[in-house]
């Protein structure tokens, strides 16, 4: 076991736990955001840099601070480590920079995006970003691509978290898509036009943090916050499918079926495409009751309970947690 101090709170976790998971063991508003890390997917993380934290003391043996901010999702804890997240001005400023970087090539048209309301990037930008942009160059855009009859890929919105690549690697027999190209020309694709067609392909929709991979059977049917999530299950024939899902109702109609996500937006148990796309009648399912959405989300705001805001549990937050980037003069339009 290793004992670490995270934002002044002590927690004991098994050796080899990452800093992020140690923070999640504490919970609340001190948990660093994660845009690419996904606990069930081996090898994910370290890419988006949203979860950077400052290690003020490396370990009990070697209490020197680490020279750079580290990605908390891939850095294992050491006994006696002291980590600063919301208590470090540097971390909060860098995080604002990361939001800015993720948004410069991402269209800011949430009102017409199907992911709005359950978008990790939207939440991330809302909670950690700034309200102005300094970017005045042209944004990178792509055509929408149909990768099969069920999933649509819109690279313009992609933040290259690699989650869908790991999902295809680890859930399915053969991955047919991957990251092509380099730098900001990198894109998710199949190289030669191909259909992502296997029993678990639908899970890439659930793991996508943004609106890059969307469910074609649900696209633009309804805004998510007008639908009611209901937990349900069925005995699925597929041995790899857990059969535990969330049905999204509008009136009496099941508009879509998704896997269940935890409070960090992670799917713990995968579902097959039959459950996801073919079973859209209430009679297919055993209803368990309203789904508990305990993420900070507009979905929960509309229905069953008050939104779970990221309540600060640390007193005396640095000033920058509420203020715009210092070096960020608002852009004057027409300048």
């Amino acid at each position: 076991m290793a004992k670490i101090t995270f934002d002044g709170i002590e927690v004991e976790v098994p050796d080899g736990t990452t800093i992020l998971n140690a923070a999640r063991a504490i919970g609340g508003g001190i948990v660093p955001p994660a845009m690419c890390y996904y606990t069930p997917l081996k090898g994910s993380g370290g890419k988006c840099r949203a979860c950077l934290v400052r290690v003020a003391a490396g370990s009990a043996k070697d209490p020197r601070p680490m020279p750079k901010l580290v990605a908390s999702c891939v850095t294992p804890v050491q006994d006696g480590m002291v980590v600063e997240n919301t208590t470090s001005e540097q971390v909060l400023n860098v995080r604002k920079g990361i939001v800015e970087m993720l948004l410069i090539n991402h269209p800011l048209d949430c009102p017409v995006c199907d992911q709005a309301g359950e978008c990790d990037l939207q939440n991330f930008a809302f909670e950690h970003g700034v309200s102005t942009t300094r970017y005045e160059e042209e944004r990178r855009t792509f055509e929408k691509i149909d990768i099969g009859p069920l999933i649509q890929l819109h690279m313009t919105r992609c933040i290259l978290c690699y989650r869908c690549v790991y999902t295809a690697d680890q859930l399915t027999e053969q991955r047919v898509h991957g990251v092509l190209g380099r730098g900001d020309a990198a894109e998710i694709g199949t190289y030669i036009e191909n259909i992502i067609d296997n029993e678990f392909s639908g899970n890439v929709i659930d793991v996508c943090p943004v609106g890059a991979l969307t469910d074609k059977t649900f696209r633009f049917k309804q805004r998510v916050w007008f639908t009611k999530p209901v937990n349900a299950h069925r005995d699925c024939e597929n041995p790899k499918c857990c059969g535990n899902v969330v049905l999204w109702y509008k009136g009496k109609d099941v508009l879509r079926v998704t896997a269940r996500k935890d409070q960090y937006g992670e799917v713990k148990e995968w579902i097959c495409n039959t459950c996801r796309f073919d079973k859209k009648e209430t009679s297919d399912w055993t209803i368990e009751g309203p789904a508990h959405i305990d993420r900070s989300s507009v979905i929960s705001a509309n229905h069953y309970e008050l939104p779970v805001l990221n309540q600060s549990i640390v007193a005396d937050l640095p000033e920058s947690s509420t203020r715009d980037l210092e070096q960020n003069p608002p852009m004057r339009l027409g300048n």
Binding site: G45, G46, K47, C48, R49, A50, L52, K68, L69, A71, V74, T75, P76, V94, G97, I98, E100, M101, L102, I104, N105, R134, Y135, E137, E138, R140, I159, L160, Y162, G178, V179, G181, R182, G183, D184, A185, A186, Q327, N328, P329, M331, N335
Partner: protein, 446 residues
């Protein structure tokens, strides 16, 4: 004239063949190491020599070797990083194509020191002709019993392979190189774990630059102490400097570390001064990623001392008034050079070569390039300089691998030392974008 430890015989006719190379003292270090020394003694010699990594970071090679994890029954690997693609750096290419046996010899001796039975040379994809030269040299080494099973009857086995990359700059980053060598997409890995613990195929691995490996040969031949006598302070031995730009005699020079920069630029023994009788404006001392310095600061430190070609002297003053020795890609610019254009050119390179894995680098390098492109073409606005500096700062230190920093440093440094020239581009775009326009000096902004 300084001593030449690596390139002494570089111009000997037929030195790329085994016979000629052997006649000039080749493969002595292999014999000496395998027959008379234990692997640990070789590591000890390298430690004593004070040799520092010649690929750019300048990390002590002996220390790197001693960090290598040595669990029982697990193979270890030595990988030579020959993916030299930093703009301004072209020393390894020359060394490998003229003296292929020197690298092969260094690889055998180093592999023996590290206990590696399989070693790789990862060579830049564009250097296919060098790859053929190396493969021929390796075949000759096999034929003469210096590679393969039971080398020189010692019971030590070594197989050496050359592997060409696909032509990506990022594969010169050691973990991206290992990924690429494993046949995957060349994305840098998150560290820790470091290659010394989990490198190639998740086995302990040492990755060294071509020149570092080659330098092991004279170190073993003459002893680490002898090698350490050359140079100044912690910068020991000789270093290949690939000098290019507006010089009278651009080329590759093997210098003893400690030569004054002024002597290196102006003396006839080295670069022979600035071409066309012009004045020096700025120098990028160690490959495009290190901070650019104006003439005053490259010849003298901020404290007024003579700047020497050593790791310490060049980085004197940190990044405020200093730079780095880096990989030894020495780019000199005369007084007609447009710094904005030059910075844009560097930025364009890093934008093109960013792997796109982590967000600050993927998005930031493109952003820098776009702003610089606008500035250079006369469409800048007053706030652009501050945005540039701030974007560079946002990339620096927040990325997976050093490419982010490599992209940010030249931009920050150019703004730090040549801010007026950027302002001139913004305030007088018509003059600044005229073909052949030369910055007339600060007075124009008054």
């Amino acid at each position: 004239m300084g001593r030449k430890l690596l390139t002494e015989h570089i111009n000997v006719e037929g030195i790329d063949t085994f016979e000629v190379y052997r006649k000039h003292g080749g493969y002595r270090s292999v014999e000496k190491a395998i027959k008379t020394m234990t692997p640990d003694e070789v590591v000890e010699e390298v430690k004593k020599s004070g040799l520092r990594g010649r690929g750019g970071a300048g990390f002590p090679t002996g220390m790197k070797w001693s960090f290598l994890a040595k669990p029982e029954g697990v193979p270890r690997y030595l990988v030579c990083n020959a993916d030299e693609s930093e703009p301004g750096t072209f020393k390894d290419r020359q060394l490998m194509s003229k003296l292929p046996h020197l690298l092969v010899e260094g690889m055998i001796t180093s592999s023996y020191a590290l206990g590696a039975n399989t070693s790789y040379i990862y060579i830049r994809g564009e250097l296919l002709y060098v790859l053929r030269i190396l493969e021929k040299a390796i075949a000759e080494a096999y034929a003469n019993g210096f590679l393969g099973k039971n080398i020189l009857g010692s019971g030590y086995d070594l197989d050496l392979y050359v592997h060409p990359g696909g032509g990506a700059y990022i594969c010169g980053e050691e973990t991206a190189l290992l990924e690429s060598l494993e046949g995957k997409r060349g994305n840098p890995r998150n560290k820790p774990p470091f290659p010394a613990v989990q490198g190639l195929y998740a086995r302990p691995t040492v990755v060294n630059n071509v020149e570092s490996i080659a330098a092991v040969v004279p170190i073993v031949n003459d002893g680490g102490d002898e090698y350490a006598k050359i140079g100044v302070g912690k910068s020991t031995g000789t270093k290949l400097i690939s000098a290019c730009g507006h010089l009278n005699k651009p080329g590759i020079y093997e210098i003893e570390l400690g030569v004054p920069v002024e002597e290196f630029i102006y003396s006839d023994e080295y670069c022979g001064g600035i071409w066309k009788g012009r004045d020096l404006k700025a120098v990028v001392a160690g490959g495009s990623s290190v901070p650019i310095l104006p003439k005053e600061l490259i010849l003298k430190t901020a404290a007024g001392e003579n700047r020497l070609m050593t790791y310490e002297s060049l980085s004197d003053g940190g990044f405020v008034t200093g730079t780095m020795l880096g990989s030894g890609g020495f780019i000199a610019m005369d007084d007609t050079t447009c710094i904005v254009r030059n910075t844009w050119n560097f930025s364009r390179f890093y934008h093109h070569e960013s792997c796109g894995q982590c967000s600050p680098c993927r998005e930031g390098t493109g952003w820098l390039e776009k702003i610089l492109h606008r500035l250079e073409h006369g469409h800048g606005s007053e706030r652009d300089i501050d945005v540039l500096a701030s974007v560079a700062k946002q990339i620096e230190g927040n990325t997976i691998c050093p490419l982010g920093e490599a992209a940010a440093w030249p931009v920050s440094a150019a703004i730090r030392h040549f801010r007026e020239e950027f302002e001139w581009h913004i305030r007088y775009p018509q003059e600044a974008t005229r073909p052949g326009a030369v910055f007339p000096g600060k007075a124009v902004l008054a």
